[in-house]
């Protein structure tokens, strides 16, 4: 049985990746062709010609206006996936139509709906507004992960691993030592995991980007909307500096760390990551540092999870694992994902 959660929206790409060149990405095992119409909208359809399955993203396939011409025999499709021309004959077979996908662009992401298009409600797409909003500066990327989606969920819902896997970058002893609070909102379909460190060492990721030299009050508030969007609301301030009673927080540094977890196949995942900040907005040096540092952290996860995937893939189903307090949020996420299947 497929492990994919269908009838859900997934991040397929950054908007900047989609233009007038044919672009392919596999989401939940489905190879999808993306391109931008002359009006600037994103079109999404199967990346396989109905004739002989030639990938439409493969040269010499190409765009002509708002149609895609297969590079093998010239089958031509409109933006809705309907075949509008075939070679050498006037009759177009009735079944000559590509599966098309609902898409929507929000917050710099291109979201695609995997499942019955009749269930595609774009108002259900979870938001990450900081990525495309005045007052914030964002760096972002995507790393291919040769590991199953569930391993990335486990990884991101338990940040105690920062202490061990990401020491010298974002991990300090206090992360693993500080108790968490886990909340599950069943109706909204969101898992929250909070870890508030009152007096913690400042890891290089934040020391070098904010300029703070001493110890910090560090809050990590995770908001995971399965299956795809993960937000880490990160608040950094000198020790003892708290938000005002009126809710303002002018003396803290805020970083919104966003991940989109998109299954590619049963054993591989697209690991989209973005870091948005509300300070040093015009400082390219800070942008470069955060981009390089966060990518390094993501690649540390990628390396660890790739090894873990290889181990798990060779073990029989039902292998024994052990969960402790740090896993409370991850277990909640697993259950919510299971309910979506």
């Amino acid at each position: 049985m497929s492990e994919f959660v269908r009838n859900q929206w997934y991040v397929a790409a950054y908007g900047r990746e989609i233009g007038r060149e044919l672009f392919s990405r596999t989401v939940c095992g489905e190879s999808i062709l993306f391109w931008r119409t002359e009006a600037g909208d994103v079109a999404a359809m199967s990346d396989r010609c109905v004739h002989r399955r030639f990938p439409l993203s493969q040269a010499p396939s190409h765009l002509v206006g708002d149609t895609v011409v297969c590079g093998y025999h010239g089958f031509t499709y409109d933006r809705a996936g309907a075949c509008v021309a075939v070679p050498g004959q006037a009759r177009i077979p009735r079944t000559a139509r590509l599966t098309s996908y609902p898409v929507t662009e929000l917050d710099g992401f291109v979201w695609v709906f995997i499942g019955d298009p009749g269930n595609a409600d774009a108002t259900r797409v979870p938001r990450a507004p900081w990525l495309d909003q005045p007052g914030w500066t964002t760096v972002s990327g995507m790393e291919p992960l040769a590991a199953r989606y569930g391993l990335l969920v486990d990884n991101l819902l338990d940040l105690s691993h920062e202490t061990y896997l990401h020491g010298g970058y974002i991990g300090t002893p206090e992360v693993a030592e500080t108790p968490i609070v886990t909340r599950v909102d069943e109706e909204a379909g969101i898992v929250y995991v909070s870890r508030h460190m009152a007096d913690a060492a400042c890891p290089p990721f934040y020391a070098k980007s904010t300029g703070i030299t001493g110890r910090i009050t560090r809050w990590q508030d995770i908001e995971f909307t399965p299956p795809c969007l993960y937000l880490l609301h990160s608040r950094i301030a000198p020790v003892g500096v708290l938000p005002g009673a009126d809710g303002t927080d002018p003396d803290a540094y805020h970083v919104e760390v966003v991940y989109a977890l998109t299954p590619e196949t049963e054993h591989s995942t697209h690991d989209f990551w973005a870091v948005a900040r509300d300070f040093a907005l015009e400082d390219q040096g800070v942008s470069d540092f955060l981009a390089e540092n966060n990518r390094t952290v993501v690649l540390q996860d990628v390396a660890a999870l790739t090894v873990l995937e290889q181990v798990i893939a060779t073990e029989p189903d039902g292998y024994q694992e052990l969960s402790i307090n740090i896993d409370t949020g991850g277990l909640a996420a697993r259950r919510m994902i299971a309910r979506l299947r």
Binding site: V181, R183, V184, E187, I324, N325
Partner: protein, 57 residues
């Protein structure tokens, strides 16, 4: 005050205990997150609805 159905598990500071609160108001303490979720998700049939120990309250 929210009216949403929220389940909450607090890792009790200074201990290895977890305190779980169901949206119905039921509470329990456990030291195993798997058991804790089983208890919470059994709503409304929470088994062993023992009261929170006074030292944890």
């Amino acid at each position: 005050m929210t009216t949403r159905k929220v389940l909450q598990v607090d890792w009790v500071p200074g201990s290895d205990n977890l305190r779980g609160r169901c949206h119905c108001g039921a509470e329990t303490v456990a030291d195993d997150p798997v058991a804790m979720w089983q208890w919470l998700l059994a709503h409304p049939d929470h088994q062993h609805p023992f009261p929170v120990r006074s030292e944890d309250a």
